[in-house]
């Protein structure tokens, strides 16, 4: 991988995955861009910059995509950072299995869109 990878990356001003210690894999594979997380109630402010930002942001529930947009980091970076905070139990995950979407949920969606 490295030559091409290194060359393309070298042009970037800041290598985004520095924030994740170079890791690109998420510790929790079930996380998706639309997965909602919120900060556990007993978590105090502090920590590394990006993580602290996420902990504060997610005092109100946010999706990982929203976390990425708010922090202006690539989605992959947000995934890794959120995955770490989940592993540390600083964030609580609202898992959604799409298979579990029921007709009642679809009806609620349909009714909501009608009122837009």
């Amino acid at each position: 991988m490295s030559d091409l990878h290194a060359r393309t990356r070298a042009n970037d001003l800041v290598r985004p995955f520095v924030m994740t210690g170079g890791r690109t894999r998420v510790s929790d594979a079930s996380l998706r861009m639309e997965t909602i997380v919120h900060t556990a109630s007993d978590v105090a402010a502090g920590g590394e910059f990006e993580s602290a930002h996420i902990v504060e942001l997610c005092r109100a529930p946010h999706s990982i995509a929203e976390v990425a947009a708010n922090l202006s980091v690539p989605l992959g970076v947000a995934m890794v950072l959120v995955g770490d905070l989940v592993a540390q139990r600083h964030l609580v995950v609202h898992h959604t299995d799409p298979i579990d979407i029921e007709l009642s949920a679809l009806t609620r969606m349909i009714n909501r869109v009608r009122t837009l």
Binding site: M33, S41, S63, A65, E66, P74, P98, I101, M109
Partner: protein, 204 residues
Amino acid sequence: MSGLSDHPPRITSVKLVVAGGFGVGKTTFVGAISEIPPLTTEAEMTSESVGIDDASYVERKTTTTVAMDFGRITVDESLVMYLFGTPGQDRFGFMWDDLCEGALGALVLADTRRLTDCFTAIDYFERRHTPFVVGVNHFDGTYRYPLAEVRDALGISPGVPVVDCDARVRESAKVLLLTLLQHVYERIQHGARTPVAGVSAPGR
């Protein structure tokens, strides 16, 4: 997770994907219907599956950074919908796995002046068994082809809804989104529980 699930109610998040060729109006569509101005995030996508049926293909893995727009519609305190616009260029067509995994359904926007631009999206969702509808986005001054003709040109199965739309207009965007939700509803009603099981989609 340690027993207590903290204060907020469990929120179910639903992902819908908006696809179509470059410049077909995906971001406009998301903006017309989202309750927030569309947000942008960068996604690094791996294109290792490109050229899967190209015999001359030499295994190689590249990553591309693409901007992705998304919007949100809050249904109620425990249900949120997200609309994600796929990167438009055809060369990103096979980088959608991350994006589409777990998607409840997809909206494909078509421009009759460049109908072939949405073939990639249609192929992709058909292969993945993702429920989708086609919105024929009308641009000012373009000839309105009858929908039956568009359907025929796209070669999609009779079960897939095709509707006219104007991505700039909320009422029109609503109709397209409602068509998709209704389509998904009917599929679930008829026992098709596979479409959203992205991970185990056959033919991968």
